[in-house]
């Protein structure tokens, strides 16, 4: 009953006119960036992060969450109609595109829309039920446990976003190092600032994210010169009853898999859709059709990535520890607004937490209404050439950087990080784990130092607590598995055709 009461309370906050507007804005923006190649939710949230300074707290977060899960819808549309693989729609390119080739584009789009709706709805109940419980459990967390949790997150994110543990973990740790610039939290000593005034408060999150994801992304996309032909086939949306019956069980299975995989560190939508697809290949009655345009091949991953995009908020809001790069940027938005997510947030800011949860379901309805009947209008977006888009993105980067502190000099700093982002890109280094490391770095240092202060320098404290010991054991197992895999030379990717497609970077 508590959940119902709390959700009703959340709807009261989410259904105000301004919050509804932010929700629609987030969903529409999310769908657009999901559809268009070269722009992901991570880049968009980076670009819009500074604009949240001038927005009300709940509205800003509702909009950013809308961009995140709205992008999942948009990505599935471009995967089905044009086989454009974004981060969270790689699996959809297999069966979705096959369905499209067989003239069942409408059915595939309807399946993706409905399954996403089911996935989102299931995940919201999981979020509403689990986040407060986990928040209460998180009160038992000590500094050593938080350290171990962050480490597990780093290792998992590193592997799942880059595919290489060494490269990804290096980026995470580089991010932690960049987070060290500025005043030391305990002694106030200025570290690595070279007496430059703009470094005394640490590197600006806005400049770093805009540099790495805004400027560097634009340069990256300019080099690609890929021309997309807009989709022009027929779209018949309504399925037959027999087809409809195939969607539901598969979407429900996908929702469960997605909800679970969204919570685990480094999981998020990318892992969720692979998991759901693999599960349906084993459990579905129609598994023989998978890979050749089966409804299940669309329904399961669509439900899973939408569910995971929502349950990824559970570790962020109940533990205060984001487990993906995108939720790390959301954490930055929370902190900019003076709210520190964590065990006490649900009690201290119930309007924020429940309002956000309720808005996710409202966003779900908007997305269903926006995307399924109006899909042809969205597809016309592909007629916009990139040469029109990138000056606009650059404009938002400029205005965003300026408006964070109302300082034109910050733009040069962002330009500097753009150069760094460009170097990363040329060296094949993924900036997504860097962002996670950068945002969590100061927290990691604080908990690390506090844990060792409590144990008087004894590292045994990390093994004494059962939570920390379990998390560290999981981390070690994961690393060990990677080492064994590297030396045995077996590539498990080959076992599943879906996994043969490489996962791009934004988790």
């Amino acid at each position: 009953m508590d959940i119902i009461n709390n959700l009703a309370f959340g709807f009261q906050h989410a259904l105000t006119l301004s919050n509804l507007m932010y929700c629609v804005a987030g969903c529409v923006l999310g769908t657009i960036v999901g559809l268009l190649p070269g722009l992901g939710p991570l880049a968009t949230i980076s670009v819009l992060l500074p604009l949240t300074y001038s927005m009300p707290l709940v509205g800003a977060l509702i909009m950013m969450a809308g961009i995140y899960y709205g992008a999942m819808y948009g990505e599935s549309v471009s995967a089905i109609t044009m086989r454009i693989a974004h981060s969270s729609s790689i699996v959809m390119c297999i069966d979705g595109y096959q369905m499209s080739q067989k003239g069942k584009t409408g059915l595939a789009l309807f399946t993706a829309g409905l399954s996403s709706f089911i996935g989102g709805t299931v995940a919201i109940f999981v979020l509403a039920a689990l986040a407060p419980q986990l928040g209460e459990f998180a009160l038992k967390f000590g500094p050593a446990d938080y350290c171990a949790l962050m480490l597990l997150g780093f290792v998992c994110v590193s592997f799942f976003t880059t595919g290489s543990l060494v490269n990804g973990f290096t980026m995470c740790m580089l991010g932690v190092l960049l987070g060290q610039v500025g005043g030391d939290i305990n002694t106030g000593v200025q570290r690595f600032t070279f007496n430059l005034p703009f470094l005394s408060d640490g590197l600006s999150i806005v400049s770093l994210s805009l540099g790495c994801f805004g400027i560097a992304e634009i340069t990256n996309n300019l080099g690609r010169k890929v021309q997309n032909t807009p989709f022009s086939g027929k779209i018949k949306l309504m399925p037959t009853w027999a087809e409809f019956k195939r969607i539901i069980p598969s979407a429900l299975r996908g929702s469960v898999v997605g909800s679970i995989l969204g919570i685990i560190p480094g999981g998020g939508p990318v892992l969720a859709q692979f998991g759901a697809y693999a599960m349906d290949r084993k459990l579905s009655k129609y598994r023989d059709e998978m890979g050749q345009g089966a409804i299940e091949g669309v329904a399961a991953p669509a439900a899973a990535d939408e569910a995971a995009a929502r349950t990824a908020f559970i570790p962020l809001m109940s533990l205060g520890i984001p487990e993906t790069a995108t939720t790390a940027l959301m954490l930055a938005a929370f902190i900019i607004k003076g709210v520190h997510p964590g065990p006490n947030m649900i009690v201290d800011h119930p309007d924020l937490f429940w309002g956000l949860v309720a808005s996710m379901w409202i966003g779900n309805c908007f997305l269903l209404a926006l995307n399924v009947p109006m899909v042809r209008m969205w597809l016309s977006l592909f007629k916009i050439p990139y040469s029109v888009l990138f000056p606009a993105i650059l404009f938002f980067c400029c205005v965003g950087t300026f408006s964070a502190n109302r300082n034109l000099q910050d733009i040069y700093v962002t330009g500097m990080f753009g150069a760094l982002g460009y170097v990363f890109f040329r060296l094949g280094m993924d900036p997504a784990p860097l962002m996670l490391g950068f945002i969590l770095g100061p927290m990691l240092e604080e908990y690390f130092r506090r844990a060792l202060l409590m144990s008087e320098g004894n590292f045994g404290i990390f093994l004494e607590s059962p939570i920390s010991a379990t998390l560290l054991a999981l981390t070690s197992l994961f690393i060990l598995w990677q080492i064994v895999k590297t030396f045995s030379g077996k590539k498990s990717k080959k076992a599943n055709p879906a996994l043969e497609l490489q996962a791009p970077n934004d988790a």
Binding site: L51, S54, M55, V166, N167, F169, T170, M173, L174, V176, L177, Q180, D184, N186, T187, V189, R191, F192, I215, I218, T219, L222, G223, K225, Y386, S387, V388, F390, P391, A392, L394, F395, C397, C398, V399, F402, S403, R406, L408, Q409, I411, Y412, G415, G418, A419, Y422, V423, R426, L427, G428, M429, E445, F448, R449, L452, L453, S455, E456, G457, F459
Partner: protein, 140 residues
């Protein structure tokens, strides 16, 4: 041919070393009472190790050709920093126009009329941002 994996490992090692040496300038303390230099030293040592592992790995992996496409990047960076300079001396409206025209040079084709339309549209967006989001951009 420049092997990207080797350059990457060298870059990581260089960054790690500069942070390690930098952190030695601050008090290290003990693990029980950490000084400001301890944590960066620990992390930069880990990064250094990872860099060395990458370097070893790169000897056993197929080399990847490293490419540069500096023109596009230079134009984008110039338009970005030019926006700040023009906004400072003239006003943000002029900065937006400069940025759009300069950045458009990086695209596959340049068109005066298209750039003019984009600049006009972005000026309207900037005005709306001032009105709706109260950003108070110094447009002129």
């Amino acid at each position: 041919m420049t092997n990207r994996n080797v350059v990457r490992a060298a870059f990581v090692i260089a960054v790690a070393l500069s942070f390690s040496i930098g952190s030695l300038r601050y008090s290290i303390g003990t693990f029980a009472h950490a000084g400001p230099g301890l944590f960066p030293l620990v992390i930069s040592t880990i990064v250094l190790l990872l860099g060395v592992i990458s370097l070893i790995q790169s000897r056993y992996e197929d080399p990847v050709q490293m490419t540069f496409a500096i023109r596009g990047f230079a134009i984008i960076l110039t338009s970005f920093c030019g926006f700040a300079a023009v906004s400072y001396f003239i006003g943000m409206a002029a900065g937006i126009v400069f940025m759009v025209f300069c950045a458009s040079l990086a695209g596959s084709s340049f068109s005066w009329s298209r750039s003019l339309k984009i600049a006009a549209a972005l000026l309207v967006v900037a005005l709306l941002m001032n009105k709706v989001l109260n950003l108070d951009l110094p447009l002129y």
